[in-house]
Symmetry: C2
Subunit: 148 residues, 2 copies
Amino acid sequence: MDEKITLTDCPDCVNFNLRKAMRAVSQHYDKILAPTKLRCTQFTILTILNRIGTVSVTELAEYLVMDRTTLTRNLKPLEKEGYLSIIPDVTDKRSRRIALTNKGKAAQEMAMPYWQQAQSEMVVFMGERNTKQLITCLQQLSTIHQFL
Amino acid sequence: MDEKITLTDCPDCVNFNLRKAMRAVSQHYDKILAPTKLRCTQFTILTILNRIGTVSVTELAEYLVMDRTTLTRNLKPLEKEGYLSIIPDVTDKRSRRIALTNKGKAAQEMAMPYWQQAQSEMVVFMGERNTKQLITCLQQLSTIHQFL
DNA sequence: TCCATCTATGTGTATATACACCATAATAAA
DNA sequence: TTTATTATGGTGTATATACACATAGATGGA
């Protein structure tokens, strides 16, 4: 009859389990991505830019549910490598538009097979059905700031 | 018939969705924990120590699926606040045993209601059934290094 | 027009994370 | 017992993350 306590018990902390799983999973992707000299977070940014094209810092940060200033710091090493071109917006002088360079596009495409390897191992490990369910759940979690 | 591509598509990257959700969820917990001056990661460590008692750095790091050296850095601010006592092991001179101090125990107990608030809002948002399913899934993810 | 406000971005600071490398102590092999 | 290996832990360096604060440009009302 004390079943209710389960989810208010600390080992059931959503945040704890999420961060712990994140560490395990990111370590997995990073290990496989190592030969590309790209970290998983960097590969993510390059891939998104390759997809959606030019964006402002604020737009991209909102999409990533990431603090603006965090993104600014994350862009630094990619910019230093010449993977990004950051150009001032013509209509709004405050805004800076981020886009992939050819070098960045090439790096993303070079890294793609490594990502696919890491991802497919994940799917095998979890099962395709569980993986889809998990992603749906995670996507809902990512919107929590809109409601709370 | 191209259904198979779904899970190898970048928006379905397990790592990307996991990190994005982690940011959203940790921001939620951190916002509610703010009055306690504890970050969610710090609350986690205090809570675990309150539970399992004295442990070595390596043991705790393994439990957290965290690099040893990361944990070393994470312990620093807690030690500075006097929440932890770190004493050398008697039998093994290399090892250091980490334990909560009374001050640390008090801080954990003071923060507990804030955590419960954050957690219960999470459960309401996700639904109890989904939350349990999610946690089961995350716990499995946390073990991937044992298999891959 | 002028000023108050809002918006886009960056810096300073602190913590979180992991890898490469180093030092020391315990343990096993020769 | 001596040496090689393994285990425990820390530092240096780099990236990831977010908050408080500062700056500059856009916007709207007086």
